[in-house]
């Protein structure tokens, strides 16, 4: 099945689920560590298949790490602020990332690197995370909002839908 990578004006409107996990934190390594722990605790209460949960954590890890590593200070040394919403539905999990860092479209061709380790030179290693997200995702949608924020929605299949998109549980 061909995956959908696009920039969409509907990217801030996940259509699934009423079971939402919300996290807000500054783009620093320390806050990232704490947020990852809070995500894990929240996921403990959801009956996600192991591979789906791994996929949620992988997408969270790679997208947030990218903002932490590359999000330049907005002003006066303040790191970008990140908000993440995880909507858990019956057939998919939607992760919505919102940050006020510099514009960056993870769906753009140049942002998504190669996935074969043997083909990676030192420079290309930096794009590996986004390539892994692309492999795990059912779809990715990005837009730059009018108030200069990055908004990215990554959808993962779960349950019966996972089999149709290649996500193994």
């Amino acid at each position: 099945m061909r995956k959908r990578l696009s920039r969409s004006r509907a990217a801030d409107a996940p259509a699934v689920g009423t079971d939402r996990i919300e996290l807000r934190f500054p783009a620093t390594l320390a806050a990232f560590r704490d947020a990852f722990a809070r995500l894990g605790a929240a996921l403990d209460g959801r009956a996600l298949p192991p591979a789906t949960r791994y996929g949620v954590e992988l997408v969270f890890e790679e997208i947030v790490a990218n903002v932490v590593r590359h999000g330049a200070p907005r002003s006066a040394g303040a790191p970008p602020a990140i908000a993440v919403a995880v909507d858990v539905g019956a057939d998919e999990v939607a992760l919505t990332f919102d940050d006020d860092g510099p514009a960056f479209d993870p769906c753009a061709a140049g942002a998504v690197g190669r996935t074969r380790a043997a083909a990676l030179d030192d420079e290309a290693l930096g794009g590996l995370g986004l390539a892994m997200v692309r492999r795990a995702a059912k779809s990715m949608e990005y837009r730059r909002t009018p108030d200069a924020r990055n908004r990215l929605v990554v959808r993962l299949a779960t349950g019966a839908a996972a089999a149709a998109t290649g996500t193994r549980d």
């Binding site: 390594l29 990852f36 954590e57 890890e61 074969r116 030192d122 930096g126 995370g129 892994m132």
Partner: protein, 113 residues
């Protein structure tokens, strides 16, 4: 993230990792791991059986370390990854550049070449 190193053969160290190899986890061990192996040209077998999560930063760390050791005619071998971690390795074909083994014995044989 916890890391324990123990010599298992002449010129080969076993690296036992425990925890999550996410960005904070890699940040916690990468410098020490590289400093323990590369300057002394020591081959390493890495026990992943108690690693719950591996992200791209960990894969980058392993590739960088394997290349540094290869320049000194030494090897890095990964072994016993849990199924979901092994699946991540498979998606990036990590086995094409770093030997993967089922257990410590097989890893040691690969490290000795």
């Amino acid at each position: 993230m916890q890391m324990n190193l123990a010599t298992v053969a002449d010129g080969v160290v076993n690296v036992a990792l425990l925890g999550r190899l996410d960005t904070p986890g890699v940040d916690a061990i990468e410098t020490q791991l590289s400093a323990s192996l590369v300057p002394t040209a020591t081959s390493a077998i890495v026990d992943l059986s108690r690693v719950e999560f591996v992200g791209s930063m960990a894969i980058r760390m392993f590739i960088t370390l394997a290349r540094a050791l290869a320049k000194r005619q030494r090897r890095l071998v990964l072994y016993a990854p849990p199924p979901l971690v092994a699946q991540v390795f498979e998606t990036v074909s990590l086995g094409d550049v770093i030997p993967l083994a089922a257990d410590a014995e097989a890893a040691l044989a690969l490290a000795r070449g």
